[in-house]
Amino acid sequence: MSESTAVAAKGATRRNGAKGSNGAGGGRSARSLIKLLLVAALLVVLLALPLYVPEFWLRTGFAVFGAIVGAIGLNLLVGTTGQLSLAHAFFLAVGAVSYVFVSGEPGGLGVADLDGLSFPPIVGMIVGVLLAGLAGLIFSPIAARLRGIYLGVASLALVFIGIHVLNAWTSVTGGFNGRTAPEFSLFGFTFGNRDPELYVIGVPFREAERLWYLGLVLALAAYLFARNILRSRPGRALQTLRDSEVAAAVMGVNVQGYKARIFLVSSMYAGLSGVMYALSIGSIAPESFGLELSILYLAMIVLGGLGSVNGAVLGAIFVSALPLVFQRYADIIPFVGGQGGGGLAAGEAARFLFGAAIILVILFEPAGLAGIANRITGRGRARARPGGGASTPPPSTDTSTTSTSPSPSDRPAQGSTT
């Protein structure tokens, strides 16, 4: 870069910076107030929704909450830390199976002879999260030593192991046919249709309504936990090691330790998501936890925006709700047929749409739905770089050796002795 262009670029960024800080200084309090009001309004709407919305939407909502938890967990690993994992489905399965086994009743119908520990569902949920974490911990030495795509390939194996175990370990998983998930309850309050009968302003609060609130609380907790992590010491360490492992290590970050720990955290998120999945469907089956589920979760975070908690939420809503909505409104939506009817099946139609959406996102908005949302709210302006995408990785390529190896842009040294 010549001196004059360097100065010009500096001037440009100065102006840019001044503009940004003016805007922030003048409107910061007003903007944060508006933001606070919006968040409060959103919460009120979410809390009041079960009073007005039919059961289908509430059930979809609970499935979405479960997906949100899983997507946030995966985004911490893939988006924030830059470690690709295809094993997310496996950790969901560990959570789901642990829940149905720990809280399920022994017995069984016909062929399958099922074991169960009959613990209260909350114990099953906690054990599900912990066992998923344990599985993550066992795999984490591998996760800590591999980076990026290599981890993706290594983690692929877990999915196939998981499917095999789900099919083979019939007494725990119910085998090929799967197993029903016990109803959730907390201190004697069941999240089912009865016991106790419950009415709020004349609206019967049955399973769907109750689960909605459970999902809302769990998703909110998962959201806040992840936001807090990203905004503090561990989050900064993770983002830096994504951008440059050497820089992170030299600044005092135990790179392997952090890779292992974020893998653990991510698998615990997946475990909780798996428990919620079992509750949402009401049963588990091996076919639900295949590679396709891992891919769907990756689609969520790519669509939503890598490294952004809000993005994970938006992506999870989009990807997990779309097939359900298509199924429900198959008659109305063009080209989508109901079961046995003409046109595309709902799931397939949704997949075509994801595919198209992912291509569009990668082409036009690499920061994903979160990037679009930021742009609308104006938050993205400060983050965006002049003339570049906001998520362009920094020049992290090999921070260690450059001055010894002349790059192509080097001017030939005059009077070089070498």
Binding site: S21, F225, R236, V246, T392, S396, S403, R411, S416
Partner: protein, 287 residues
Amino acid sequence: MTAGSPVEADVRPDIPPVEVDNVSVRFGAIKALSGVSFTVQPGTIHAVIGPNGAGKSTMFNVLSGVYKAAEGQVRFGDHRLDQMRPYKIAGIGVARAFQNIALSAGQTVAENLMLGRHHLTKAGFLAAGLRLPRATREGKVHGARVAEIAEFLELGNKLHTPVGVLSYGDQKRVEVARALCTEPRLLLLDEPVAGMNAEETHRMAEAILEIRSALGISVVLVEHDMGMVMSLADRVTVLDFGRRIADGTPAEVQADPEVIRAYLGSGDEIDPAAAAAHSSDTPGTHS
């Protein structure tokens, strides 16, 4: 400006010398460093110079634990840097600013600087995720210190700007500030003024002198800008083809025939402009 001698500077008592003892580094059949020795006296500014490919950055990577030495030792007080992992080296007060900026572009200046506090802080996933009071308090205390350091390097009004939108010179200063945020006893600066214009170079040189005199720490400097090296450094080690060809005060080194040969391939007196032409993209600017 003239370099203050280490005697008048306030050397902190807890700063040991850095003893590089017969260090060799190999990449396959290539010897990037062979038998290099030098000592960085506490509280001095020690420059490592040499033509491209001389092994300066390799030396830095050994000092910060990124590369392992095949032979030799690097001692920092009782610690053997050649046997420690990079993050442990950071933990004993060795900080490094990277030549080609290794900051997180999407994070703000403050966030990047806070990374420097990593080994001084404790909050883990649980404490941070649950916002336990001690994590919040820790963040506040260290945030204040970070703001101070940013102020020192004239970054005070840019704390909340994402690093990616800053000018090149500012980014370089964030690099140095981040290294300072680790509260180092030994500061490794890898070409801190490479690619900077004259004014920025001048400001950076002043900042380095001030760091040394205010904090009393040792500074090791890899630099191409001869004017800067000669005016700043208390001592200079010259590398060429992975070997140490000279070691002494700037005046001694400038007069050394080996050095002149390495830089110019002739018996001429060393000319800063010609020497600076070795640098990759530095305009020939001197403070």
